[in-house]
């Protein structure tokens, strides 16, 4: 076993680089999945259920098959049989499409109409008559639902925690804050609708897909269709946003593969915007109870955090909101619970900072309430509860710079002058306030492989199954490889998003760049050794060049356990119009500590993008479930408001230097931490402006006017 490669002395990393694909993206040349033409391409259009629970009684295919251009109607009666048990992270029955007549929720795929053109496929889908045997359903989530139960054990589940003596600590506390917070269903809504094209070419299944990890998707498809893994090739060169939605659930991909296998011609399936509200996972609603017990000076004795969220009857997904309370503050006792309520709703999934985003809203709001109760500044309260080691894990931190983030943020935001009293500042009709919240996100690494070729012409080619979903991964990996090879970024070609390049972690969990960089650094070390051992010099390379591979699986397994997170501090200033209920965020500032920042230009953009999500979560986003139909009342971009340009004020993000080589590349990941704590900072600012505490998101006009009621 070798020891990990030391991080290289940097020159390309740490300096701003515009994106490698920038020109292609501003000229329209960049082809996303649905943009790539194929000869003989047929178009698939998904038909989804209109009832919330029941069985399909009949599918009237004859009429539709007689329509112009229609090639096939796939439905449970004629679909290919899929192998059970496939899934990205354990078996996921959501992938078992058209396998039986059960309807588990509104918006479940019940048929695919394939036709020569999009218009014909869509007309066929619209015309397809399906009848159902409907059954009574339940789509109404509440924390006291009789179906509430603990989560099933899974590698993703955060175990319940009972540490110390919570009851005794509560009894001994001078101050107790005991509150309930709720967050609504939220939807990723990547701007690029999920799309896939599949075809059989020379005995291989070739898939062009919009996803966050082509290797993982290839593995899932191979398992589902019982193919050799080598038979499947998945590529996703340009991806129009993912945020956790493009990887786990693949209805379009699975059905495109099924259709091409039956029809023997290329088939493209693109989800409609409305279908994206039921088929690609979403953040489930949460109901959270937080109980903080503290001494008179604010030192925490006990942290209790219980979170409940709805899941489907198809597959269990629990929102792990207690991730935040596990790592932020020290306390003598902890009681942490995760619960789910299975309902007749679509299966939730990972959405940007899963667990962290809603969990931080509850915990960071409760900390603000505690600060007010104790009469201490909210930043001072957080500093007072800074842990030495992981509060629940007991593990040493790989590094932790929350304090530095809070202090630097306070300085830059002008926190010192803040009058703590709520509801006393006015600017004309507006009430003004400021708020703060802490942020954290796990800094994980996943096993990855990479290959680098020293080409005969003196350039280098890096191959890694990374995905660039907008993060700037291509550019950052170019900088990393350039430094590892000690060459200029211009001489490095970066090839990504092709499952043939082998195992690699997804663009997810804020782990992508960290995982790929480690593999690239290892490959660079191996390549330089190979080149050094060559007789002659670089000019004598064979025509195919010299290639070195790396695989971090073993290095990763050999790491000692550490508690490793990025941390941050979020600040917001808001103006609230008590007459209309309107809340305007005037400015936000985020200061983060996330290890090494590879490309300041794209990193800042990522942080600000995350903070924009925090603002959007605080004020706008809310899926409204209509209990009369079991579906969403607002499942489109007109009804489901995401922050638009005019909603977003000056948002600034910056970071502090942090050196942490727990991941040898020094990278902690920064795709998600920007949203964590954002909604709490805004809600805390609204309290400071108005004196009214908002414990239910979003802080809509109605809620402001009704004084924060649920």
């Amino acid at each position: 076993m070798t020891t990990p490669a030391a991080p290289p002395r940097t020159s390309a990393t740490g300096t701003p680089h515009t994106r490698r694909e920038g020109r292609a993206k501003v000229t329209g040349e960049a082809r996303y999945t649905g943009d790539i033409p194929f000869a003989e391409l047929a178009h698939g259009w998904l038909v989804t259920s209109t009832v919330a629970r029941g069985r399909i009684r009949s599918v009237d295919t004859d009429t539709v098959l007689a329509m112009p251009g229609v090639l096939a109607v796939l439905h449970p009666g004629n679909a290919l049989r899929l192998t059970p048990g496939a899934g990205l992270m354990g078996p996921d029955a959501n992938l078992q499409l058209l396998q039986d007549d059960r309807v588990p929720h509104v918006g479940w795929p019940v048929a695919l109409v394939v036709a020569e053109t999009q218009e014909q496929a869509r007309a066929g889908a619209d015309a397809l008559v399906i009848t159902y045997d409907e059954e009574p359903y339940d789509t109404a989530f509440r924390a006291d639902h009789p179906g509430l139960r603990p989560t099933a054990p899974s590698p993703l589940a955060m175990p319940d925690v009972d540490q110390g003596d919570p009851d005794a600590e509560l009894a001994a506390s001078a101050v107790v804050v005991d509150r309930e917070y709720t967050t609504p269903e939220e939807f990723h809504n990547a701007m690029e609708p999920h799309a896939a094209m599949a075809r059989w070419e020379n005995g291989r299944l070739e898939v062009v897909d919009s996803n966050q990890g082509s290797y993982a998707v290839a593995q899932v498809l191979a398992a589902l269709f019982s193919l050799d893994a080598d038979t499947v090739r998945v590529r996703s060169e340009h991806v129009g946003g993912g945020f956790g939605s493009k990887g786990l659930r693949l209805p379009h991909t699975v059905l495109a593969v099924m259709a091409t296998t039956i029809l023997h011609r290329p088939v493209r399936v693109v989800l409609t915007r409305r279908q994206m509200f039921s088929l690609v996972g979403h953040r489930p609603a949460t109901a959270q109870r937080v109980r903080l017990g503290a001494d008179a000076d604010g030192r925490l004795r006990v942290v209790e955090h219980e979170t409940a969220s709805p899941t489907s009857t198809v597959h269990e997904f629990a929102e792990q909101s207690t991730r935040h309370s596990r790592t932020l503050y020290a306390a003598d006792a902890f009681r942490l619970r995760t619960r789910v309520v299975p309902l007749d709703v679509p299966t939730p999934g990972f959405m940007r900072a899963p667990g962290w985003a809603p969990g931080s809203f509850a915990v960071e709001s409760a900390m603000d309430e505690l600060a007010a109760e104790v009469g201490v500044d909210p930043i001072a309260l957080r500093l007072r509860n800074e842990p030495e080691t992981g509060p629940v894990s007991g593990l040493p931190f790989s590094s932790r710079n929350l304090v530095a983030c809070l202090e630097e943020g306070a300085r830059r935001f002008g926190w010192a002058d803040r009058d703590p009293r709520p509801g006393v500042r006015r600017d004309g009709r507006w009430l003004l306030g400021t708020g703060v919240a802490a942020a954290a996100h796990s800094a994980g690494v996943g096993a990855s492989t990479a290959a680098i070729t020293a080409e005969a012409d003196g350039t280098y080619t890096v191959r890694v199954t990374a995905a660039d979903i907008g993060t700037g991964a291509r550019t950052a990996l170019g900088q990393i490889a350039a430094d590892a090879l000690e060459v200029s970024p211009e001489s490095v070609r970066i090839r990504i998003a092709d499952s043939d390049f082998g195992l690699a972690w997804l663009a997810g969990g804020s782990m992508g760049t960290a995982s790929w960089a480690w593999a690239i650094n290892e490959a660079a070390v191996a390549l330089r050794k190979k080149l050094a051992d060559l007789p002659g010099d670089m000019a004598d390379l064979p025509p195919e060049g010299v290639t070195a591979h790396a695989d971090t699986t073993e290095l990763l397994a050999a790491r000692e356990q550490r508690e490793s997170h990025g941390y941050g501090a979020q600040f917001a200033e808001v103006a609230v119009d008590p007459a209309s209920g309107e809340v305007r965020v005037r400015r936000m500032l985020g200061i983060f500590a996330v290890g090494r920042v590879v490309n300041p230009l794209t990193a800042r953009n990522q942080f600000i993008g995350g903070m924009t999500w925090g603002l959007s979560m605080a004020l706008h986003e809310e899926g409204v479930r209509d209990d009369a139909s079991g579906g969403l009342a607002n499942g489109d971009l007109a009804g489901y408001h995401v922050a638009a340009n005019a909603d977003v004020p000056l948002i600034e993000a910056d970071w502090i230097d942090e050196h942490d080589t727990y991941n040898p590349s020094g990278i902690k990941g920064l795709g998600e931490i920007g949203i964590v704590g954002g909604a709490a900072a805004v809600a805390n600012a609204v309290w400071h402006a108005t004196g009214v505490r908002h414990r239910h998101l979003p802080i809509s006009l109605e809620r402001v006017l009704s004084g924060g009621r649920r």
Binding site: K25, T27, G34, Q118, G609, A646, D647, V648
Partner: protein, 177 residues
């Protein structure tokens, strides 16, 4: 051939005239993408709610998913592919690259087409909801640009840089005008 289902039309796109027979249901967006292989114009919602499909129709911005191709007959369509002058990017395109006015890039063609039209709207002194005094020319300010660019959603949340890029391009335009 023209029938009750399809119509023969000619479309003038980026200065070039194309003759084609389209299904009458075909939107301008789908005609551009599926028939002319101009896939720079994106489909984000197909129902007029996101702005990803923004193109210029006789120099004014429209959501091409809400236009039928047959109705664009005889009008001038400019798409993202038609903005650069050969190798030289349009100033708005260049500003997006330099100031990182995007992440995934999927909303970007729509943002850029919209921005080109916004700059022209400002030059023509059209007011917006953000204009304080509608009797005076609107200022080239971030506030005006935020307001005018709000029909183009960016889920990556790149608005801060989009506004910087458009403001910079608009100010340069003002100087050069």
């Amino acid at each position: 051939m023209t029938s009750t289902r399809s119509t023969e039309i000619s479309l003038r796109v980026n200065g070039e005239t194309h003759s084609l027979t389209v299904d009458n249901r075909t939107t301008l967006l789908d005609a551009l993408r599926e028939r002319l292989d101009l896939t720079g114009t994106k489909k984000g919602c197909d129902q007029g709610q996101c702005g990803a499909c923004t193109v210029l129709l006789d120099r004014q911005r429209v959501n091409s998913c809400l236009q039928l191709a047959v109705a664009a007959e005889g009008r001038d369509v400019t798409t993202i592919e038609g903005l650069a002058d050969g190798e030289e990017l349009h100033p708005v395109q260049q500003a997006f690259v330099d100031l990182d006015g995007y992440q995934c890039g999927y909303c970007t063609p729509g943002q850029i087409c919209s921005a080109v039209a916004v700059i022209e709207e400002l030059a023509r002194e059209w007011p917006s909801a953000a204009t304080d005094d509608v009797r005076r020319p609107p200022a080239v300010s971030e506030e005006e640009i935020r307001e005018r660019m709000s029909g183009n959603l960016c889920r990556c949340g790149a608005y801060v840089n989009i506004v910087r890029a458009v403001t910079q391009a608009a100010k340069n335009e003002q100087v050069n005008a």
